[in-house]
Amino acid sequence: MPGLRFDLRDTPPEAPALRATLRAFLAEAGRDWSPRVRAYSWMGFDREFSREVGKRGWIGMTWPAAYGGGERTAMERYVVLEEMLAAGAPVSAHWIGDRQSGPLLLRLGTEEQRREFLPRIVAGELAFAIGLSEPDSGSDLASLRTKAERAPGGWRINGRKVWTTNAHRCDFMIALLRTSPSPDPKQKHQGLSQFLVDLRASGISIRPILDLAGEEGFNEITFDDVFVPDSLLVGQEGAGWKQATAELAFERAGPERYLSSLPLLTAALDDLRDEPAAPEAVGRLLARAGTLRQMSLAVAGMLQEGITPEREAALVKDAGNDFEQALPERLRDLLDPIRTPPAVQEMLADMTMVARSYSLRGGTREILRGIIARQLGLR
């Protein structure tokens, strides 16, 4: 395929020891996680858990020691991520900061911003939200209208963000905002900038929105003359689109884009022993899981080399979403509703609902396939 690279990668030599430590920790920490907690996995928010993860050095693992980071490799970090996901751990309180907000600050933040925020992310103390979507701007993100206007010493924000996962529990968001009006829709990618926004600042109101499973997962955020000092502009004024696109590559590149529903397979496997159709169905799922893992590791390897794998990440996310949505569907075919234990039933029910979000959050299936088509030279 022109220009698409998936070089095979192994996990690093440190992996077996690291994995053993993680498994012991997760077995202990996860003793009382309900099926619903596991079903929500990386959308689940548990500050206490994130602090414990931080204490063990598993947040900001690749970052410089000067900011509290562990100076480990991207592949070691990958091991930590996939172990958390396989266990269905509620990692959201540190996941976003570790995955994209922190790396953004490392690449483009000021020295002051790095010193202020990174060590607290590493400690599991500071939770980040992603401030992209707006009521009228979903897939067409660049059409966003929430604006930041110059004010003495900083900026004033007015407008609305929506679908912001866990904003009501988070401390900060990285918001993509319009800093100069763009009357011409063809120029909509210009005049956008990124800001660190304190979610407790005055003028911000956060309204949780119940999701279809009855959880307060995401929010609507209204900005009414919210002041942000100059010191919290991230990167370059007007370069927000380019910066956010690179950030999206990080957002899409991880193993969470294929592993969201794996805990269900682990939990249900032993209840499938008497089902004649189970071996073939399970084998097909595992063949895909193993292959997606190789593709996901290839993307992690590119991150390790400092390459931004925008297209490869889009492809693996799209294929991964298909897999993680198919998994509950296949298991539903196989599990006998009468004999299956309640805990497994419950996880299946929750995942049947939550799985809808896999191909929406972080870019819809259609948008990702558009990115692949562009890579093929069709757009």
Binding site: M1, F6, T11, L286, M295, L376
Partner: protein, 342 residues
């Protein structure tokens, strides 16, 4: 365990094979093959490159090439529609080597797996016949009685063995699974290559064929379908490469999970991807005249060779069910653990 060429050497090898096939193969040669014409010159050329014996140990006249390298070569071969049974010959030489039998120095060695039709059987100088228990027998091709295997979608010449004479040599593979694993690996790699070729053809066509005043590739419905095909092609290629690497690491007989996964993923990709490329080409792709079917028919045949998806998925699933839910994730991660990147 087989060594593997470093990335640079592999690149050179692949380029050589690609150039050779680009110059000497093509639709006419594929059509001739379907009429049963043995590609004499092409075989001589791959022999000149030392390819048929490349997987055999150096002490037996081979090059000690690894399985991951072989997968890369087979994928290129698949990209050209595999006009000659080079993959089968290479696998046969490798299996003979594993069984301690020195492969004959020249000519095509056919691979006879239990229950499977033998690609180009009656053209073989020698036949490596493997039974269910991992016993390998080397036969002189002249002493084997063949009957034609009809009905393959690919129309590639294939025969079934009616009777063998006395073997020249016999030996035993390190594991009974080694031979069927080799068969699955080579067909997964061939499919990955053929799908890549079919995808390239479809993408190219989508940029030149115009309807409603626009290239059809400008329509989002077409773009989205080709994106799916690209994704399947990538998955098939990655799965095949990973399977080759696993065979290098752990031995062919112990790489059943990765090889089976590659066969399942490549087989599914052949189904999904094959439908998409034909949809994009529409009527012209349904003609005998158009070369698309030279690739898609082969893909569909290779899907069924050496164990269809159903067969391999069942094996993988049975093993996982026997190990239980608690072992599922640890088993998946243990397979390529802790080696770092060489």
């Amino acid at each position: 365990m087989a060594g593997d060429a470093d990335e640079g050497l592999r690149g050179i090898l692949i380029e050589q094979v690609d150039r050779l096939l680009a110059d000497s193969a093509g639709p006419a040669v594929l059509r001739a093959a379907e009429r049963g014409e043995w590609p004499e010159t092409l075989w001589a050329e791959v022999e000149a490159l030392g390819l048929p014996l490349a997987l055999a140990p150096e002490a037996m006249g081979g090059a000690g090439l690894g399985w991951e390298d072989a997968v890369a070569v087979w994928q290129v071969l698949g990209r050209h529609g595999a006009p000659l049974p080079l993959a089968h010959g290479m696998a046969a030489a490798a299996l003979l080597g594993l069984a301690g039998i020195e492969p004959p120095p020249a000519g095509f060695i056919a691979l006879a797996l239990p229950g499977e039709a033998v690609a180009w059987g009656r053209r073989a100088g020698h036949v490596a016949a493997v039974d269910e228990g991992g016993q390998v027998a080397l036969h002189d091709g002249a002493g084997v009685e063949w009957r034609r295997a009809e009905g393959a979608i690919s129309r590639e010449p294939a025969d079934r063995t009616a009777a063998f004479g006395t073997p020249l040599r016999t030996g035993r593979l390190p594991g009974a699974e080694a031979a069927r694993n080799a068969g699955a690996l080579l067909h997964a790699a061939l499919i990955a290559g053929a799908l890549e070729a079919a995808l390239d053809m479809a993408v190219e066509y989508a940029t030149v064929r115009k309807q409603f005043g626009r290239p059809i590739g400008a329509f989002q419905a077409v773009q989205q379908q080709l994106a799916v095909c690209a994704s399947e092609a990538a998955a098939a290629a990655v799965a095949a490469a990973a399977a080759g690497r696993a065979a290098d690491r752990r031995g062919l007989e112990d790489a059943g999970f990765e090889i089976g996964s590659a066969k399942v993923v490549a087989g599914e990709a052949a189904g999904t991807g094959g439908s998409i490329v034909h949809q994009v080409f529409a009527a012209i792709g349904f003609t005998d005249d158009h070369p698309l079917h030279l690739f898609t028919r082969r893909m569909w045949s290779w899907r069924d060779a050496a164990g269809a998806e159903r067969v391999w998925a069942r094996r993988i699933g049975e093993a996982a069910l026997a190990r239980g839910g608690d072992a599922l994730w640890p088993d998946l991660t243990a397979r390529n653990e802790g080696r770092g990147n060489a």
